[in-house]
Amino acid sequence: MDDELSKIINLLIDNQLTSISVKHGNDEIRVSKTAQPAALIPASPVQKADSADTTNTIKAPGVGTFYTSPNPEAEPFVTVGDLVTPETTVGIVEAMKMMTEIKAGLSGTIQEVFVANGDNIEYGQKLFRIG
């Protein structure tokens, strides 16, 4: 059966068909290929991977270096499982020797942390997922 299937698949490909069906008595094999639409216009130069859900994420308010804690010795502001309100400080972004606190801006529980201490972040970058 495998041999026959290979042959059928090869026939399909070699002759640029979209489907073949072969019937032997009560047995039927049907092989089909999903149509590939031709690219009519080139893809736009930048294809930024668009994550599905951005509504419950805390995003970077600016550019700089991200810190998880108020100082190197301290515990992180927040970890997975913590409850946050809009005024909760969730991190610090540093640029040009100036530290700016990042506020959660929404309420919920930290589900996921996307950045590590010392990472470079840019405006709009996803920092935390809230659930």
Binding site: P45, M96, E122, Y123, G124
Partner: protein, 450 residues
């Protein structure tokens, strides 16, 4: 030459659109690394795709992004950029920005913050130029409040004169005086008008320059007292003070005056110890009659036409100089080459569906648009520059006409039709070139009235 680039600089381009593409291209040719910055609205921009790295710096509005000094310096910090090229517009002539760049130890690709500050103040610039031997628009020696002093000054300057008030704006306290006999009455009218409005009766005079051409000189300085000129540009075709078509060289100035303008500009640049690219703008009224208007202490939109006739990569020269190199060699003779640029402007925002750009001998395009690109509404409307070069003006014009005629942009409205109109108008095309800086406005205003 090889050890010119002792250090491969990493350049952050603090701009967007076609000039960002231009700078990135020039940097790549020189083997330099590039960092693009972009707003939320520019995620799919060409300059972002072309640069080695890109940092999103803020929301769509210019204030949140391309004018956001803090975000741009932060982007330079995290990307470890060595230098910032500000392009034109945005922060390119912001002395505060230039100073901050210097303070954080980065190279600002342009003049010093001090130069930017000096030339950004119109009055200070005039004084500086006057002391460097550059002719400035004749004006009254000081402010005055009596008609007698005004009359004396007007005689000295020569009629016609514009009588203006120090506190004025929007035409208040301003009168055109064509002859001495009218002075007293017009002075009294103007002064009482502004005095009643704001209580400040100080007046001054400026010579009225009639039907001037806008002639500007491109310079490059090494910041240490040496400067070169790369010819002049004629930017007389303007709509509401916005340049539409520029050409190099100017066909309307005699060789003696041209030489004088170039010499005066180079001398001023050397006196100022000017660094990087800059342009001295003049109003030209006739042989020997030219007056300094202002200086643009940055690379300009129309720099490409000077590049075409001289063969010098101006942006590349800026980058080379920032990396420690010297000024480029410029040939004395451009062998009659003429380059003309047309600025294509989007009149609506929108998505570009179909795009065909022209080509052929002597045709150059500078743009950041591509099929499928969405032109955002937040920024400057110019989307494309088409530059035609030829061995003489007639050929350059023919090539530009053909190139514009061939260009197709669908999905939004552009000024392509207007450009064709100008390029076919006898005032513009003939050697007489009977245009001045009010010409395009008067033609279009007359049409609108019909």
């Amino acid at each position: 030459m090889a050890d010119l680039m002792k250090k491969k600089l990493k350049i952050l381009i603090a701009n967007r659109g076609e000039i960002a593409v231009r700078i990135i291209r020039a940097a790549k040719i020189l083997g330099m690394q590039t960092v693009a910055v972009y707003s939320e609205a520019d995620k799919n921009s060409l300059h972002v795709a072309m640069a080695d790295e890109a940092v999103e710096i803020g929301a769509a509005s210019a204030g949140d992004s391309y004018l956001n000094i803090r975000a741009i310096l932060a982007a330079a910090e995290i990307s470890h950029a060595d230098a910032i090229h500000p392009g034109y517009g945005f922060l390119s002539e912001n002395a505060h920005f230039a100073r901050l760049v210097e303070e954080v130890g980065l190279i600002f690709i342009g003049p010093t913050s001090q130069t930017i500050e000096e030339m950004g103040d119109k009055e200070q610039a005039r004084q500086l130029m006057a002391s460097a031997g550059v002719p400035i628009v004749p004006g009254s020696a000081d402010f005055f409040e009596s008609a007698e002093i005004g009359l004396r000054e007007a005689e000295r300057i020569g009629y016609p004169v514009m009588l203006k008030s120090v506190a004025g704006g929007g035409g208040k306290g301003m009168r055109l005086v064509s002859q001495a006999a009218d002075f007293q009455q017009l002075f009294e009218l103007a002064q009482s008008e502004i005095k009643n409005a704001v209580g400040d009766g100080r007046m001054y005079l400026e010579k009225l320059i009639i039907h001037p051409r806008h002639i500007e000189v491109q310079v490059l300085g090494d910041g240490q007292g040496k400067a070169i000129a790369l010819g002049e540009r004629d930017c007389t075709i303007q709509r509401h003070h916005q340049k539409v078509i520029e050409e190099a060289p100017s066909t309307k100035i005699d060789p003696e005056t041209r030489q004088e303008m170039l010499t005066v500009a180079v001398h001023a640049a050397e006196q100022q110890q000017y660094r990087s690219a800059g342009t001295y703008e003049f109003l030209y009224q006739g042989p020997g009659q030219f007056y300094f208007m202002e200086m643009n202490t940055r690379i300009q939109v129309e720099h490409a036409i000077s590049e075409e006739i001289t063969g010098v990569d101006l942006v590349g020269a800026q980058l080379t100089q920032a990396a420690g190199g010297g000024l480029p060699e410029v040939a004395r003779d451009n062998q009659g080459r003429v380059a003309i640029e047309a600025r294509v402007v989007a009149q609506t925002a929108g998505k570009i569906n179909f795009l065909h750009l022209p080509g052929g001998l002597g045709i150059r395009v500078e743009t950041a648009i591509y099929p499928g690109y969405v032109v955002p509404p937040n920024y400057d409307a110019m989307i494309l520059k088409i530059i035609a070069t030829g061995p003489n003006r007639v050929t350059a014009l023919q090539r530009l006409r053909e190139a514009i005629g061939e260009t197709v942009i669908t999905g939004l409205k552009t000024n392509l039709d207007l450009l064709i109109q100008i390029l076919n108008h006898p005032d513009f095309t003939t050697n007489e070139n009977a245009t001045d800086i009010d010409w395009l406005d008067s033609i279009l205003d007359a049409e609108e009235e019909k």
